[in-house]
Structures are given as structure tokens and as C-alpha cells.
């Protein structure tokens, strides 16, 4: 294909089949990490063997909450914080679906924090992609449960003094079976992590650190999105299998990334089927979904 041909509009985009092109341009700011993350997710969807008709994406509210609207699978843009229980309903009613929650740190870890820990405890077989930009961006830059200490936010105008959550540590404590952290810079490693998480039975969590130049960076005078990507490049330390107690993120301090947890635990439905099999014996027909 010539360069000229590539620029003409009638040449299909390689991700046409995976994205809702009739919704492009998207709403995200220039240099936001979400475009890259959606691309990595789409690439992971292409790699997995599950038919796309069986994939469902659920988002909550916020910048990342809009992801569900751009991916061309069955997609649900729900309420603030409730993506995980909504996804739990989808999955439990029809376990043949591959249900993925893609949402932000505020949505999943603050307002939805209770659902996050309980879904991890139950080991509900869903994948959670938590895009962490350290701030509430859609609403204009308020402090998040992930905002590093000392970082500035509109509701922490003199700098944050609340200790943030470490998402991998939280997920590990609650029993998630697959936990990785990458940044929007690590496109290939992120794609691999998403592919692994999607293939993993049980509650899998991929945290993606993502640049927000409009709010987080501007409020903290960290430069453009490109400067943040350079920061990730220079300051990310890959440490697979790192102790999750040591994954706190300090303000402009090195970020440990990698695959931290990959373990086996029976999923919610497996546990239920095994137990009811013991209790009821042959009378019990293992649950495979309530959809005819």
C-alpha cells in the first residue's frame, strides 16, 4: 500500500471491527493515555480465542467510564462505582460471556471500592482493567483514593495528605488471582498482561497508570502528556513477582510495574458447583448459566 493510499478514507482502519468508528472522534483530551489503553485492549481481544460476540465490556462513570462506548462488543456504561456488580450479574447469569470491567481509579476504588474487594474475595470470573490517572479528571481534578501524597488536587489545594491505596496490594489482600501493573507507555507489555488476564479464570486485575495532562499534570506542573510518558520511561522499574506490600506510588517517585500475582483459586461458580456437588450428590446439575 502506498503512503497516499493509506491516507485515503476508504482504506479500512485495522481496528474497525473492534471499535465503534461512528463514535469517533472520542471525547478524551489530547495526550490522554486512554486511546493507547483502548488500543492495547483491542489488540488483546484480537489475540484471545473467545469470539467477540461473547465479550461484554462494562464501565462506570468518568473519563475511563467512556471506554464502553467505543469498543464494538456488547457494552454497558453504567452508574458511578457499580460496574463490578453489574458485571457480576452479567457473568453469573451467563458464565459463557467474557466480562471485562474497564473503569477508573475513583470509580473502582473509591465509590466502587466495596464491590472491588468483595468481587475479589468471591473470585468472580471477570477481568478488571483499572485505569489510574491519580485524579478525578472528568469532574475537574479532585483528590482520588490513588492521588500520591503531596500531589496537588482541586480538593487538596495545598497538597494531598491522605494516604493513597496501592491497587495491587488491595487486590492481592482480597484474593485476586492475577494482578499486574503497567503504564500507558508499556503498550506491548500491557497488551500481554491484558491477554493473560482475559485468559485467566477468576478475578484478574490490571492497573494501568495513565497520563492526565489536562488536570493531574497541569495542577502539579509536570509538563505535557509527553513529559509524563518520559517520566514513566525513566522511572518505571519492572519487577515481576514483587511483594505487593512494596508497591506504593509516591509523588514523582519511581513506579514499580510488572506481573505481581498469578495464582490458582476456584472461581465463584466453580466453588459453588463443587460444594453443591458434595452436598446434593448426583441430584445436582452443575450450574452453567441460566440462559436457555
Amino acid at each position: 500500500m502506498t503512503k497516499q493510499a493509506m491516507l485515503t478514507e476508504d482504506v479500512p482502519h485495522p481496528m474497525d471491527g473492534l471499535l465503534r468508528m461512528d463514535r469517533i472522534p472520542h471525547i478524551w483530551c489530547p495526550t490522554c493515555g486512554l486511546g493507547t489503553i483502548v488500543t492495547a485492549f483491542a489488540a488483546a481481544l484480537e489475540k484471545i480465542e473467545i469470539p467477540l460476540d461473547d465479550v461484554a465490556v462494562v464501565s462506570g462513570i468518568g473519563c475511563t467510564g467512556r471506554v464502553a462506548g467505543y469498543i464494538k462488543v456488547d457494552s454497558f456504561h453504567t452508574t458511578h462505582g457499580r460496574a463490578i456488580p453489574f458485571a457480576t450479574g452479567l457473568h453469573l447469569a451467563n458464565p459463557k460471556l467474557k466480562v471485562v470491567v474497564i473503569s477508573g481509579d475513583g470509580d473502582l476504588i473509591s465509590i466502587g471500592g466495596n464491590h472491588f474487594i468483595h468481587a475479589a474475595r468471591r473470585n468472580v470470573d471477570i477481568t478488571v482493567v483499572c485505569v489510574n490517572n491519580f485524579i478525578y479528571a472528568m469532574t475537574g481534578g479532585q483528590v482520588a483514593p490513588t492521588t500520591p501524597l503531596k500531589a496537588n488536587a482541586s480538593t487538596m489545594p495545598y497538597g494531598n495528605f491522605e494516604k493513597p491505596f496501592s491497587i495491587p496490594f488491595l487486590a492481592d489482600s482480597c484474593g485476586a488471582v492475577y494482578i499486574a501493573r503497567w503504564t500507558a507507555l508499556h503498550v506491548r507489555r500491557l497488551t500481554t498482561a491484558l491477554t493473560e488476564a482475559l485468559a485467566k479464570p477468576g478475578f484478574s486485575v490490571v492497573e494501568v497508570i495513565s497520563p492526565c495532562s489536562t488536570l493531574y499534570s497541569r495542577r502539579n506542573r509536570l509538563g505535557t502528556g509527553l513529559d509524563l510518558m518520559k517520566f514513566y520511561h525513566d522511572n518505571c522499574v519492572i519487577k515481576h513477582g514483587a511483594d505487593t506490600r512494596e508497591l506504593d506510588i509516591g509523588f514523582q517517585e519511581p513506579i514499580t510495574v510488572g506481573k505481581f500475582i498469578d495464582r490458582e483459586r476456584p472461581t465463584y461458580i466453580q466453588s459453588m458447583n463443587t460444594w453443591y456437588g458434595e452436598v446434593f450428590g448426583d441430584e445436582f446439575k452443575p450450574y452453567e448459566g441460566s440462559i436457555k
Partner: protein, 385 residues
């Protein structure tokens, strides 16, 4: 279509209203239940938890009522008939996602076994004070359908009715019980499955790539698909167009929300179910629902013994309100008497629709117990003057 025999316990039973409501769900084909314990509704969840493993359903006790409500929306989108149950405080927590169910047009059933409020109120004692919350508790403009049983038999029957309404109109349907009905034990007759009418989902059967999730049919109700159905659709709680895509402007808001309201409001007369007795020629009509309609019976008998012409209008559906019927009756009767276990909720609707043509006499009760029949009788007597 008729009921799936697997969930139907045909026969005569001695059940309380909570257990009967659970059986109503099973008979209606509910196979996904997400709930959180709360008095006086917990027995519904307990019975479902015990029964579902044997009928191929899945029960999950969620971490709170926010999660329960969100989960049943997911369950319904996956294609399963889904329900939850709660009481006042949990009902409050469900309000946001009830709105999501209305906006996304998700068939689902929420049973509220009402107790005394506000706040923690009277967990073990009856109330009927969530009636306006049912109608207006979620933010924004909406319409939905609610029914109100007054006995365990009706709890069984009306849960099925609620499921059928929710499927036909693609709207969450509420079953507004109360602690008395929930905990009273009476005979419940469960029919044979072939005698239970079930409204199927309005399923989309066209080509997958042509599916528009919010393109309304002539009856204003769009066809529904399910996750994994091959249509790769999008749905959102945001104001949306026929594709289900968000559109942020007044024109789309008007089109989207007006239809959500009209699909119920303009069909109120076909939805409304009333049980009327001796209303023609009456001077006074007792308008009641739930447990209060049973307490009204002896009061009406007392008044009739004194020669007062009194009729009874028991609302089986409470929302949409039987507006046209009350308006018509108001021109013929002297007064409506409205006993309810609150300080005036449905009576406000009666008064509004009476338009001053007839008096509306509220017989309030703060909750914790039911009315004394004599209080309702006194109101009837006053109304007949």
C-alpha cells in the same frame, strides 16, 4: 407462553407472604437473584437461596443493596429473569440503579417489604410509607409500574404479574408489600405451570448488524437483545439516541425521556388493575392497597350496617395511578376515604385526581401496626355526611 414447570411448586401450601413472593419469582421464571439481608424481607432471599440450586438458577448475596440492584440489571441484560428484594433502607440504596434500569429499559422485579420509617425506623413492624419513594425516589423524570399485594396468595400472584409487566413494558416493576403481608401465613394455591401465563421478553430477531437497541416499536417499546446475542450493542445511563449512543442536548433528552414516560403514561388504562366492589351508586369509596385494604373490609361492613352506601376500590397496581378512574368516580361520589400506613401519600394522588369534585379523607397511621377498623369507619361516616 406458560411457566417453566421446573420452578412451579403446584399445590396448596401454607406460606407467609415473603415465601410466597419467592415462589412467585420462581414460577415467573426468575433464575437470577441478587440480594442483601434486611428485615422484614430476608425470608424471600433465604427461600430463593434454598430453592435455586435445584432449579438451575443462581443466587448471590451481594455486599449491599447498591450491588444487588446493579447485579440484577446485569443479570437481566444477560438474558435471565432477575429480581431482588429489600425493605426501606435498602430501597433507598437501590434508587440510583433503579433509575439506570428505567433509562436502559431493563425488565426486572424489585420487592419492597415495607417497614416503618424514616431511617432505620421499625425494622420488624409494618409501614406503607415508601409509596411516593417508589414513584419519585430515583432522580429525574420517570414512570414505572408497581403492584401491592394484601395477602400471601397475592404476593405469589402479583410477583408474577410484576414480572409480566416488566417484560411487556421493559421497565423495572416494583412489588410494594409490607411487613404484615410478608409475615402473615395463609393458604397459597400455586397453579399448574400450564395455567400460569408468562409474558416473554420482546426479543429482537432481525439481522444482528441492523439492531438499534432503542428504536421503538409502534407501542413505543424497543426490542431487546442480550449480552452474547451477537448484536454488539451499546447501552448507557446517559441520555441516548436509538443506537444507545450518548447525545448531550435538549432535543435528544426530549425524545429519549418523553418516550420512557409515555410508554407507561399513555397506557395507564391498560396497565391499571383494580378490584372494585359496590362502587356504583356509592356515596363513599374507600381507596386502599396492601394490608390496609384488608383492614378496610370490617370498616366498610360496619358502615353498610348503618345504611351508608360505601364502595371499595382496592388498587392492585398502585403505579401508574388509576387517574382516569378516580377522576370519573369523583363526579359521582361524595368522598374518598384513603387508609394508609403513612401520613398521606397515595391520598395525595386521590386528592389531585378528585379535582375538588369529591372530598378526600386520609386515614393516616404512623406505622408499627395496622389501622383500627373503627378509625376507617369513622372516616367513612364523616365522608357520607
Amino acid at each position: 407462553m406458560t411457566a417453566d414447570p421446573k420452578g412451579v411448586l403446584t399445590g396448596e401450601h401454607y406460606l407467609d407472604g415473603d415465601h410466597a413472593a419467592a415462589e412467585g419469582g420462581l414460577a415467573a421464571g426468575c433464575r437470577f437473584f441478587a440480594g442483601y439481608p434486611i428485615t422484614p424481607s430476608t425470608e424471600v432471599a433465604e427461600r430463593i437461596a434454598a430453592r435455586f440450586p435445584k432449579v438451575g438458577g443462581i443466587f448471590v448475596q451481594m455486599e449491599d443493596e447498591l450491588a444487588s440492584m446493579a447485579a440484577i440489571l446485569g443479570g437481566s441484560w444477560a438474558g435471565a429473569k432477575s429480581m431482588t428484594v429489600t425493605s426501606g433502607p435498602g430501597f433507598s440504596l437501590m434508587m440510583e440503579n433503579l433509575g439506570l434500569g428505567i433509562m436502559m429499559e431493563v425488565p426486572t422485579v424489585i420487592v419492597n417489604v415495607q417497614r416503618g420509617g424514616p431511617s432505620t425506623g421499625l425494622p420488624t413492624l409494618p409501614g406503607q410509607a415508601d409509596m411516593m419513594q417508589a414513584r419519585w425516589g430515583s432522580h429525574g423524570d420517570y414512570e414505572l409500574i408497581a403492584v401491592s399485594p394484601s395477602s400471601p396468595q397475592e404476593a405469589f400472584d402479583y410477583v408474577i404479574m410484576a414480572f409480566n409487566f416488566s417484560e411487556k413494558y421493559r421497565v423495572p416493576a416494583l412489588v410494594m408489600m409490607d411487613e404484615c403481608v410478608g409475615h402473615m401465613t395463609e393458604k397459597v394455591v400455586i397453579p399448574r405451570p400450564e395455567d400460569i401465563e408468562i409474558t416473554p421478553r420482546k426479543a429482537y430477531t432481525g439481522p444482528p448488524d441492523k439492531y438499534l437497541p432503542y428504536l421503538p416499536d409502534k407501542d413505543m417499546i424497543p426490542w431487546m437483545t442480550r449480552a452474547g446475542g451477537g448484536t454488539r450493542f451499546h447501552t448507557t445511563g446517559l441520555t441516548h439516541d436509538e443506537k444507545g449512543y450518548p447525545v448531550m442536548n435538549a432535543e435528544c433528552q426530549e425524545k429519549c425521556v418523553h418516550r420512557l414516560i409515555d410508554k407507561i403514561r399513555t397506557k395507564a388504562d391498560e396497565i391499571v388493575v383494580l378490584d372494585e366492589e359496590k362502587v356504583d351508586g356509592a356515596d363513599v369509596v374507600v381507596v386502599s392497597y396492601g394490608i390496609s385494604s384488608r383492614v378496610a373490609v370490617p370498616a366498610i361492613e360496619m358502615a353498610r350496617k348503618e345504611g351508608i352506601k360505601v364502595g371499595s376500590l382496592k388498587m392492585i397496581t398502585v403505579w401508574p395511578f388509576p387517574e382516569n378512574r378516580i377522576r370519573a368516580l369523583a363526579k359521582k361520589v361524595k368522598a374518598f376515604v384513603v387508609p394508609e400506613i403513612n401520613y398521606g401519600q397515595m391520598s395525595l394522588e386521590v386528592e389531585r385526581c378528585a379535582c375538588g369534585n369529591a372530598k378526600t379523607i386520609l386515614v393516616p397511621h404512623g406505622g408499627g401496626w395496622v389501622h383500627e377498623a373503627k378509625d376507617i369507619y369513622q372516616a367513612i361516616k364523616g365522608g357520607a355526611k
